[in-house]
């Protein structure tokens, strides 16, 4: 199998990850380096000794102060210079954390018939979920530094149907310099803003409609990502990704090449002490071979159709957070919005298991959402979100040639789905959150859905750090 390109990539990666490439220079430089290393070593040792002496002094004086009045202090003190007394194999245990989530849903429309009107189905996680009580996905994350050069993270989600899915399993470089980071394995793509954020950190129970329609919920790549951060005080990040394109809007093609190529740029900064912002532009190129979906024909008979071609998506994202003096514990306003625009170009096959007709297909679709979440007092937040989609006007070759009528593709009838959502949540601590949400959902073709949901999110284990 000609895997030259991929082995080249691995080679490049290995080279890049080697932290100190020693260039065979003249001997004088090598000697000087050795001398410097010796000097540093001594300076380190002297420093350590000084620190120890001082700690002893400090401890003594602290005891002297404490001896006069008896302050009600627990006697426990840590040994200086160590991170607590731990040893043996368990000292190298990775950080383990688990997220538990679940909800109660009251939905006015039957969730089993949910479909976003006017969009080729993604087969992903779309719709409001099931009625009544639901066990959500339990997310198990295990993460640790592998060695001085790599960090590894696995997030598995255990579904209510007793299935385990690998949500993310990636390595990331630790030792690269000059702003470079390389990530590989399965990871959430860096496109847009919300795509990288795990479900437990969303501000609403579900994803915005654009994520559901354009990426089947969230775009995960099985591939490689390279990011570069500019050496500026303003945050500027450029990224490129490629993978095998196993996920919507691409599909598995059984080819050696790259698929799901994504490029993104993000810029961010502060305005005074109270406001920070981030905005970005991303582009995704996904190719599909016979990506099938179920529909009915003009007479209501179930058929299987398939799309072959490219889907190119642009994403614009913007985020702003405001809190007085940057103190986000008492009051914080978070405003965000994203816009997506996708062009699908290729061929659409009708009834692949029967008549199997083939014609051109082209469609340009777009959508956006804006949302605001306000922490109005410690632990309490209120939020609102508006979603809007434009299915475009699909140019279907089989319809234009007169072979079939427009009614033969009910899923692709033009539509402009929209949804309005409000939510209130209460977080007793950093590790628990209870949420109520109500949505007026008009994302189906002809049915209006009223969705009421109550949700819990609990986090146990290692204290995770969240992205901006």
């Amino acid at each position: 199998m000609p895997k030259i390109r991929s082995s080249l990539a691995v080679l490049l990666l290995a080279l890049g990850a080697t932290p100190c490439v020693t260039y065979a220079a003249d001997d004088a430089a090598a000697l000087r380096a050795e001398l410097d290393a010796l000097k540093q070593d001594y300076a380190n040792r002297v420093g350590a000794l000084e620190a120890r002496i001082n700690q002893l002094e400090t401890a003594q004086s602290a005891v002297a102060v404490a001896s006069t009045p008896p302050p009600p202090l627990p006697a426990a003190e840590s040994a200086p210079g160590s991170g607590g007394a731990r040893g043996g194999q368990s000292a190298f245990n990775p950080a383990i954390s688990m997220i538990l989530a679940g909800n109660y849903a009251s939905l006015s429309a039957d969730p089993s018939t949910y479909r976003i009107a006017g969009f080729l189905p993604s087969g992903g996680e779309v719709g409001p979920g099931e009625r009544s009580f639901n066990l959500g996905e339990s997310e198990l994350t295990v993460a640790a530094n592998v060695d001085p050069y790599f960090f590894a993270n696995v997030t598995a989600s255990v579904t209510a149907d007793n299935e385990i899915a690998v949500e993310e399993a990636y390595f990331r470089t630790l030792a690269l310099h000059d702003g470079f980071t390389v990530k590989g394995g399965r990871f959430f793509s860096g496109l847009g803003y919300l795509n990288e954020i795990h479900a437990h950190a969303w501000d609403f129970v579900d994803q915005p409609l654009i994520y559901q329609a354009f990426f089947g919920g969230q775009l995960a790549q099985d591939g490689l990502q390279v990011k570069w951060l500019a050496p500026t005080d303003t945050f500027m990040e450029l990224g490129a990704e490629a993978g095998n394109g196993d996920r919507f809007p691409a599909n598995h093609r059984d080819r050696n090449g790259l698929n799901g190529t994504t490029l993104f740029a993000h810029v961010g900064g502060d305005i005074g002490d109270s406001t920070s912002w981030r905005t970005g532009l991303s582009w995704n190129d996904s190719r599909s071979d016979d990506r099938g979906y179920e529909d009915v024909d003009a007479f209501g008979v179930p058929v299987e159709n398939a799309f072959t071609g490219t889907a190119r998506t642009w994403v614009v994202d913007a985020l702003m957070k405001w809190s007085p003096n940057g103190d986000s514990t008492r009051r914080q306003l978070k405003l965000q919005g994203e816009y997506m625009r996708r062009t699908e170009d290729g061929q659409l096959a009708f009834d692949t298991t029967g008549t199997n007709l083939l014609g051109d297909y082209r469609n340009r679709q777009s959508g956006w959402y804006v949302q605001g979440v306000y922490l109005f007092q410690p632990r309490w937040r209120i939020g609102a979100r508006y979603d809007s989609l434009d299915s475009g006007d699909a140019r279907i070759g089989l319809v234009q040639s007169g072979a079939l009528t427009r009614a033969a593709f009910p899923t692709l009838l033009s539509a402009s789905p929209e949804r309005f959502t409000i939510m209130l949540d209460w977080s007793p601590s950093e590790f628990s959150r209870l949420r109520g949400q109500y949505a007026w959902d008009e994302s189906r073709l002809d049915e209006r859905d009223r969705q009421f949901q109550l949700q819990y999110i609990y986090s146990i284990g290692a204290h995770g750090a969240h992205k901006f």
């Binding site: 420093g47 426990a76 690269l176 945050f235 500027m236 940057g326 103190d327 601590s429 750090a465």
Partner: protein, 300 residues
Amino acid sequence: MNSLRGVLAVLLLVAALPAGAAIKVLATTPEWGALTTELGGDKVNVYIATSAFQDVHRIDAKPSLVARARSADLVVATGAELEIGWLPVLLQEAGNGKIQPGGPGYFEAASQLRLLEVPTSVDRSMGDIHPLGNPHAHLDPHNIAAVALGLTTKLATLDTANAAFYQQRGADFQTRWKAAITRWETQAAPLKGVGVVVIHRDQVYLCHWLGLQELAAIEPKPGVPPSAGYLAELVTKLSATPPKMILRNAYNDSKAADWLSARVHAPVVMLPYSVGGTPEAKDLFGLFDDTINRLLGAVK
């Protein structure tokens, strides 16, 4: 517009990369930022990630901070998991191998200290506790001296060309600081044994140092805000041993402290907590001068 400015900045930076430029330091909190400036003078260029008006437990890993971590030669953090909710993100996103924990450009103040209140067992039902001990250690000036020693060594090893400069400056700081400690301890003598109420357990080291008696904390457990019931209990409990004052940090919400103040007839004393918390706390010396002045003012 901003991106244009960014591009310009890149060009300028590339054009003007001098060999012996000041080391860029990202300090997580104002006290360690101020200490780095004391020790490094004009050989360091310090950016401080947070202010005295922010709760260091709860900081957003803002893009501006990621950008600062990218170009930092040295990160000076408190450690002991105080910054666990945000610093790891900065280090991960920065693409900067120098500043990773354990590396040459990473320094934790807590590694130089003997921390108080190391729990014998940890469970989140106890609130947001710190398994490695109480990390709010800088309010005991002896700890500042210990951290200063370690930080001097760090600066000297990182910037070997100026090692003698840092050693000399470090020694000078130790002399001035020891003299100041003696002065503060003399001034603060009337504070010994004075009963106080705190909000979060971040005044522990101050109380420990000055011999203030911590009668109660307004937070029933670390990071857990008090309920009305708990506050009422606190009033009853404190009626037997009334506190002289209620200590509040610049970043704390004043509501609960004010409520309690009216009921136990003790004034709320707002303390700077860190450099910049009050106009008087301009630097580390000012921080302790002002803290002791404010405490003495409430005892009189």
